[in-house]
Symmetry: C2
């Protein structure tokens, strides 16, 4: 980092000033109005789906249908879900302790606590979900539901789509009675000159005193750098970075016996190569029983070869991802103890100048011992359609290896029979997996992420920068952008509506009644 | 910071290894057993109260009664409160989404989410609450209730008490069937040689890969340094630092008219000078209406002079606090626009060599304009028995000044009448105060901190290093040491008890039933 002062950035300054100006307005907005804005944004995205999907497909190389149409619908449903969160009010965690003169060791005042918005949120858009993790994605919806204005740092992989979605959503918010500046876009490539990639604007915003929290989905290198910027500010701010994951899936002998080679191979290949493997939860390592690949005359191996070879060539999202994937693929192929099952490949487009890069899937095999002996060249995420088959000698050995192989993963999977699930070695393996992952899934593949109250999409570092304490998918994400405030002995007139005796917003509250507080103590402090 | 490798520290290595060894044991311990351990610890502290209070009084200079006896009782009650938290199970935030084949846009699997322990927690003990914010204090109780082992970095201000409490609690935990190493003490001064102050051991533990989270209560300088260490680790960890606060209290003309000068002055002096002002919530600034000090022939001023002058001399906790307070007091007295009301003082003990420092309270006065024009020399916390009276021209002016004067405070107070509370200027002031403080209190003084579900003890930076998202007092503190894990389509046999269909622990769960999920969506991701 340079030690000289950064150049002034009028665009950044204006965006931050606007976000700060609307923050108290949004914080004082009733949940019903926030909810109306979120629903209007969902409807507006659906109404403009044809144009938006076409733009997204052009810019990203992802399939218009079902992939991008489905993603737009998910994004709209997500906005509607957060409108329900805002209306429901549980996310405010409202608590009322009635005044209690008989409280021990000393009397208790009237205490009322709720969560309030942190303030302007900076969302770094991701490239791989141009709708669901970009301008109007999960963190934007969660922040708006929390009552925080959002500034999106555009991803350079889909600038036209970013601008289009921003305008659609801003108009919808305004139509629902919210300030347009509840959502702003910054850091579009070229905004500050022909060589501007937008990165400097994003970093300048992250350093801006008016930004109160930030979220990011992307690479470990960029994410850690931004996390360090957030932590080294004069006033550090919460930074929710999702930095990738290898999503190991462990398969037991019983589980393999209970399926067919064809069904297993098809489901695995679908999860590992969909969207050219450019998904946070792509299964990068699949641990199968030793000997399984050679059993029955190599039936499973043959089925895997067929399934991975049958996947059509797919464009990669942008040149940065293409370069990163090509380098990681080479490193994996050159690793000790790694044998090729399906070579696949990476090639530049022959259309003369588009800069597009196309891939076919790569599948390799190794052993648990070789993986344990390997370094990052084999173990780190390869963001693209590459997966590593790992032969393991048994569940015990995998459980013992997990703490050495994994520190923080978004997901860990286990294919297991009901009978095996009753055994101590499987229990030990599940415990080990749950210590390093945010989601442990059974007899399935990690790339389906439900957007629901019980979803956790986050894990210990390096899967995320916040030790996996929050999620970026599902209703629980709203807590990222809130902090508690307690009002003590406050007159009704100055209380926020959610804490008033008459509860005009109908917010659920946890009430500690006077006289019912045996064992809850207080003292001068 | 040095770039050379730190010296190996066998004691630190052993403590960290033990904490890591018991972490999975505690994580698998039933809540009833954790609760029994916490209750046993409370009972053991009470049983040994005479000895412990005598040691604490000798080491800290705080009064044995009511102060230290009350604090020990608070600490015991706090341990009991967290035993109830563990038993109740709400803190696990258990959520079950039933599988739903009709879910849109795609079917939903069975998802079960709960909070699990982060792992070994490092607690930096504070000097000013040798029981309640030290070895067996709030963060220790919260971490144990969460199922995390605790390593306490001893505060050098009360080393003998720290060792004594550690032994009492370890024995009690063992008696209740928990591992002794659920609580360990590290960093006692002299442990690594005659010149060792324990600081290096604390920093080494904070850098240790096995420590999963840390908490701290103390100075802004030390706290920010430790927060930076935590953020710059290879794997950053959550760091909950409480760094101090000036706790402004605003008084309206009506509120002043509704009380007597004597009552106001006595209550203010009690809050500002109790425990020699060495409390996180000591009211450092009290904003009174302009002219109030000179009205009625200076009645209020005279009452304040009497109240602050009547406070007996009190020892300061330790030489570091004494030196810091003396320097801050000199800076305040030398600030432009500051006049002395009660000079007070700081003097070294004349007992020849104890190193003790004694103080009498200092009260000064200034104006809101002078405070706005001042720098940190006047505005920063003076940790000791010093308070600043600030004459303000009205509630409007105070509301406008708040964003310029305050960034992050543990508390902000307002003395106001019920009639004034109905007015727009007071509403604007309350909104401004709630944007910068974790607790806004009315017609009282900030130094009573109730230990209850609705308490918030934390505020935006620099009051705390985590943007005020968590509390160090009250039941909500347990969330500091937990992270969510979701189990997807898991066989009953491998689920944690809190997520099983039969709910053997009786944990409250939020269930989303199949078919009741209109508007909650899911898609491949």
């Amino acid at each position: 980092m340079s030690t000289t002062s950064p150049a002034p950035r009028p665009a950044v300054e204006e965006v931050a000033a606007r976000a700060a100006a609307v923050a108290p307005v949004l914080a004082a907005t009733a949940p019903a109005q926030l909810a109306a804005g979120l629903r209007a944004a969902a409807a507006a995205l659906r109404a403009d789906a044809d144009r938006l999907v076409a733009t997204a497909a052009e810019e990203t190389g992802l399939a218009p249908a079902p992939r991008l149409r489905g993603e737009l619908e998910r994004t709209a449903v997500q906005l509607e879900m957060f409108s329900q969160v805002a209306l429901d009010g549980s996310h405010l965690d409202a608590r009322i302790d009635e005044a209690d003169p008989g409280f021990r060791p000393v009397p208790r005042p009237d205490l009322r606590r709720m969560l309030v918005p942190l303030g302007p949120v900076l969302v770094f858009a991701a490239s791989n979900f141009p709708f669901a993790f970009s301008v109007a994605g999960g963190d934007t919806a969660a922040a708006l539901a929390a009552g925080c204005p959002v500034v999106v740092k555009a991803h350079p992989g889909h600038p036209r789509l970013s601008a289009a979605v921003t305008e659609v959503v801003r108009a919808a918010l305004e139509g629902a009675g919210l300030p347009r500046d509840a959502l702003q876009l910054a850091g579009l490539p070229g905004a500050e000159g022909p060589d501007d990639d937008g990165v400097a604007a994003g970093v300048a915003l992250l350093r801006d005193e008016r930004i109160a929290a930030a979220s990011f989905t992307g690479s470990q290198r960029a994410g850690r750098h931004l996390a360090d910027v957030a932590a080294s500010r004069r006033r550090p701010i919460p930074f929710y970075g999702e930095l990738g994951s290898t999503n190991p899936v462990v398969v037991t002998p019983g589980a393999l016996a209970a399926t067919t080679a064809e069904a297993f191979a098809t489901a695995y290949a679908t999860s590992a190569t969909g969207s050219a493997g450019q998904l946070c939860t792509q299964p990068g390592f699949v641990l199968v029983p030793a000997g399984a690949l050679d059993a029955d005359g190599g039936e499973l191996l043959a089925a895997l070869e067929r399934a991975f070879s049958a996947v059509p060539e797919h464009r990669l999202l942008h040149p940065g991802i293409a370069a990163g994937y090509a380098a990681r693929r080479e490193a994996v192929l050159a690793s000790a103890g790694v044998d090729v099952v399906v070579a696949g490949g990476v090639r530049d487009s022959d259309d003369g100048g588009s800069g597009q890069v196309w891939t076919t899937p790569t599948l390799v095999r190794t052993t648990l011992d070789a993986l344990l002996a390997a370094g990052p060249e084999l173990r780190e995420e390869a963001f693209g359609p590459l997966s590593v088959l790992v032969e393991h000698p048994g569940v015990d050995a995998v459980a013992a290896a997990v703490p050495h192989l994994y520190e923080g993963e978004l997901t860990a999977g286990l294919h297991v029979t009901p009978e095996e699930a009753q055994t101590a070695p499987v229990a030990a393996l599940v415990a080990a997996l749950s210590r390093v992952a945010g989601r442990v899934l059974f007899n399935g593949w990690p790339t389906g992420v439900s957007v629901t109250p019980a979803m956790q999409h986050g894990g210990p570092y390096p899967a995320t920068t916040d030790a996996g304490r929050t999620t970026s998918v599902g209703t629980a994400a709203v807590t990222r952008f809130l902090r508690p405030v307690t009002f003590q002995d406050a007159p009704q007139a100055v209380l926020p509506p959610a804490l008033r005796d008459d509860d005009p917003w109908g917010v659920p509250r946890t009430v500690s009644r006077a006289g019912e507080s045996a064992g809850w103590g207080a003292v001068q402090g």
